[in-house]
């Protein structure tokens, strides 16, 4: 996978990265620049429909994703996706339309174009771990994150279900750990790496969300983590934005900064903290980073 040829990708940031997850977008662009990986945003991409679309209208979900895949064809390189939800939907679309001819015909009619399934859709983790390669990533490190104990949180959509995203083992993935360990951090073994945070109900049933998210924060804390790392803006929203609220409701004290993977890797490769959007995080990460000597 690793080659000397310059890496370049079409980039699908997704809606959240243009809004609540601005720091994920910023740190992704900055990190890729630093690693000399080309990133060109797909022009005029639109919403993949995420969970609500497939929840009630799969045909719409497949059509929106198929349209986005078609738009991405215009940009050179594999499609780099930052958001786990967008990643999951795009992969699902490729998988479903590849297997089911009827659905494929319906989608082609809906978007009035042949569907394009050949292009590779890759999550940022795959690009860092496999295309760039862990060795080259390790070689780019300026400030190893020594002594930082990270709880890698995959959530539901990065790996599941079997045979669809094919990012890593569905039950025991290691790709996040591999990436963050290669830039010098430690990872903790913990029990809730793949449990659901309930992102689907952020808007409609926040009461449900805080219960699920609390269990995750609790498990990370119990495992001795300093912070949590995620690759999904929806997980981030629940773990970071709602953390204070959860602490209040459950009488806990977590104080666990929730980083995007690009923020932590960016820090390790020597990016200035201002270019990582750290100030946008609700749980202030600066005390932790200062105490570990990274700032």
């Amino acid at each position: 996978m690793t080659s000397d040829k310059a890496l370049t990708y079409a980039y699908f940031p997704g809606c959240s990265l243009h809004a609540s997850a601005g720091e994920y977008d910023l740190s992704t662009r900055e990190l890729f620049k630093a690693l000399e990986i080309g990133l060109t945003e797909v022009p005029d991409w639109f919403c993949c429909g995420a969970t609500p679309a497939h929840n009630v209208d799969e045909l719409l979900s497949l059509s929106l994703c198929a349209k986005n895949l078609e738009l991405a064809e215009a940009v050179e390189g594999d499609l780099a996706v930052a958001c786990a939800s967008c990643f999951s939907r795009l992969k699902f679309t490729q998988h479903t339309l590849g297997e089911n001819a009827t659905k494929r015909q319906q989608v082609e009619k809906a978007i009035d174009a042949p569907v394009k399934l050949e292009g590779n859709v890759k999550h940022l983790l795959e690009i860092l771990a496999r295309d760039l390669g862990l060795e080259r990533l390790a070689a780019s490190v300026q400030k190893p994150l020594s002594g930082l104990k990270v709880a890698c949180y995959y959530g539901c959509l990065l790996t599941r279900p079997t045979d669809v995203p094919n990012l890593d083992c569905v039950e025991a993935p290691t790709i996040m750990e591999q990436v963050i360990e290669s830039v010098g951090a430690e990872t903790v073994a913990w029990t809730h790496r793949l449990e659901c945070c309930g992102a689907n109900f952020t808007l409609s049933r926040p009461g449900v969300v805080i219960q699920l998210t609390n269990a995750i924060l609790d498990a990370a804390k119990a495992a001795g983590a300093d912070c949590i790392m995620v690759g999904c803006p929806l997980c981030h929203g629940n773990l970071d934005i709602r953390q204070k609220e959860i602490e209040g409701v459950f009488g806990a004290n977590y104080n666990l900064p929730v980083f995007y993977l690009t923020q932590l890797v960016g820090l390790a490769v020597g990016l200035d903290s201002a270019r990582l959007g750290l100030e946008a995080m609700i749980v202030n990460p600066l005390p932790l980073l200062k105490s570990k000597g990274f700032l």
Partner: protein
């Protein structure tokens, strides 16, 4: 939840088992409900099972018996988080998460059959947002949801903070592909009207 329907004796006959509905579910979800042998592994791992009146395995069981009214009358399908844990661990390759998608779709078609309103409202607004703007604008989504659901003050404490952190944007530009999106929505509606798609 719904006393009368839930507690009512199930009278099973070829007439009361709605095979057509089950076939629609199977077609939409690309999976067979007959494959399930009721081991309950889906319910064991479901993060949302404690919020459902019918645990996931029972939803499949009711489908096997063609008793969809009992499913749609409850809230279970609207409490599915789409986390795919059930599909991943099912020993029989029953894609329960996809079955849930299909059931929600058919519930929408059945208009108002289901109780859960907040989740449905959020979904509706989300899709409307795509149709009108091409992309999701969280601020707008949240504001409209709160107004429509009558929870004006929900998450009040979060708002200003997120705003200060740049996480909620007031202004947004329209996507240049708007015409194309409208066409996609239109074509799908057309196909359904002509009976070319479910």
């Amino acid at each position: 939840m719904d006393g009368p329907v839930k507690k009512k004796k199930m009278v099973i006959s070829q007439e009361t088992m709605d095979v057509d509905f089950v076939r629609k579910v199977e077609m939409l979800s690309d999976t067979s409900v007959r494959r399930c042998f009721q081991c309950g592994k889906c319910s064991a791992g479901c993060p949302m099972a404690t919020f459902m009146e019918h645990p996931p395995n029972r939803v499949v069981r009711l489908l096997q018996l063609g008793q969809w009214q009992r499913i749609l009358a409850g809230r279970s399908i609207w409490y599915c988080a789409s986390c795919e844990t059930c599909s991943t661990r099912c020993p029989n390759k029953v894609h329960l998460a996809s079955i849930m998608d299909a059931l929600r779709k058919l519930s929408w078609d059945a208009e108002g059959a289901s109780k859960e309103s907040y989740v449905q409202l959020a979904n509706k607004l989300f899709l409307q947002n795509i149709r009108s703007y091409g992309r999701q604008y969280e601020m707008r989504l949240a504001a409209v949801f709160n107004v429509k659901s009558g929870q004006f003050l929900k998450d009040l404490m979060l708002g200003p903070k997120l705003f200060a952190k740049g996480k909620l944007k007031m202004f947004h530009s329209k996507n240049k592909n708007m015409a194309e999106i409208e066409k996609i929505f239109g074509r799908i509606e057309e196909m359904r009207k002509n009976g070319e798609a479910l």
